[in-house]
């Protein structure tokens, strides 16, 4: 049994042979997850039912106001988008394509506390795949790491295994943001001390890893520590997505082909730019 266990661990770690096995078995344990989730979901619903009419009316009113505001913003956005699209046509086409989206509910199920993972109520039945980006209303939450027929596992950005390529929205400085294992903070890696990054800077996904879509909010810089003698600064980032509180998440189907093209184009531009810089350095 011990040998079998070790063989299993090794096999799953090194090879892909066990994928169908895990897929079938995780479908088999999905009922346990649903049963655990059910009373909590029921409780939420009962609370919902007992919410007084008064508060519903109030909420409705405030939502209407919000909708009005959002619509007003949307009008502005539509014109901006048009303008943006025109400008993009001049620069480089097909960065943004239509994305298919699907909402999923987070099951009230915990994983090991050291692994920051969620279980959601959509699986391969809805066409989910491993590596798929997951977002909530405020930003990127993480990616899918395991798919069953009816459930999937999401690895959050806060997981120590997670990394996402980002750029600073203000000036386009590129870097990696990795999970720290703490639910409140991410860490921005490999930023030289002299780089122009300030507290409060918003970080968006750069799409360079070809896994996360371009331009979604990742977080904002919360603190910067510059230590003499250390070539990189220690930068903590507060995630934009409410990583632990979201009950509803969105799954994105991003055109992989388009994403790849866009990223390659970007990389090409970077290379060109650095070549020019080198040339200037040589000539001067």
């Amino acid at each position: 049994m011990v040998v079998i266990s070790i063989a299993l661990i090794a096999m799953e770690h090194r090879t892909a042979y066990l994928k169908p096995v895990r897929y079938a078995l995780s479908t088999a344990v999905a009922p346990i997850q649903y049963v655990v989730d059910w009373p909590i979901e029921l409780f939420d619903r009962v609370i919902d039912n007992f919410t007084r009419q008064q508060s519903l009316i109030k909420e409705n009113a405030s939502l209407k106001v919000q909708e009005l505001l959002l619509r007003a913003q949307l009008q502005k956005l539509i014109t901006l988008e048009k303008e943006n699209a025109q400008l993009r046509k001049l620069l480089n086409p097909t960065i943004h394509t239509d994305t298919k989206m699907l909402a999923a509910r987070v099951l009230a199920v915990d994983s090991e506390p050291y692994a920051h993972e969620l279980v959601i109520d959509q699986g391969s039945q809805s066409g989910l795949y491993v590596g798929q980006p997951v977002v909530d209303a405020n930003g990127i939450m993480g990616q899918i790491v395991g798919v069953g027929l009816l459930t999937s596992r999401v690895m959050l950005l806060t997981d120590p295994r997670s990394a996402i390529p980002v750029e600073v929205a203000r000036n386009g400085v590129r870097s990696l943001v990795v999970g720290t294992g703490s639910p409140d903070y991410l860490a921005m890696k490999y930023v030289p001390e002299t780089t122009n990054v300030k507290v409060g800077d918003r970080l968006v996904s750069s799409g360079l890893g070809q896994r996360f879509p371009i331009g979604y909010p990742v977080g904002s810089v919360a603190s910067i520590k510059r230590q003499p003698g250390d070539s990189f600064s220690t930068i903590l980032v507060k995630p934009s997505a409410s990583v632990n509180r979201s009950r509803l998440v969105l799954l994105l189907w991003y055109g992989q082909e388009n994403m790849r093209n866009a990223v390659e184009k970007q990389l090409h531009e970077i290379r060109q730019a650095s070549k020019q810089v080198k040339k200037q350095a040589v000539t001067s």
Binding site: I9, I32, Y114
Partner: protein
Amino acid sequence: MSFARGGWFVWLSLLVACMLTVVELPQWAVWLRPSWALLVLLYWVLALNRAGIMLAWVLGIVLDLLSGSLLGVHALALVIVVYIVLKLQKQLRVFPLVQQAFIVFILSVIYQLIIYWAQSVVGNAPTEWLFWLAPFINGLIWPWMFALLRHCRRYFKVGV
């Protein structure tokens, strides 16, 4: 695996233990969760002659699926711990409860160690110190667990 009588209760208790393992806890309590499956399994291994390595392995695989770890991590830990218990079964049965709780603490440390080792081999070691809190909780909760399950066992006449 079939137990002489009341086998359904053994399975039910293990199923409940699996559910308790994944039930959602508030953020401050996630590290305080005892290893329910380990405790229930230990009880049945001590109480019945039939429960053994095979059961431990199957339970471990279920735990791996529920917690999303690589297949075999929990199975390995449970199998080794249950093997030790089977070796010491005769002494453990006659120990007073407090001493048993201490042994459960030691066994839980071994269990966590194996999981820690297996996770670090695949590059996903738990970094938080709180990871080592679980054995203490297990030791503390064992006497109550033992009393409850013994009561149920007598009530449903499991394996008599």
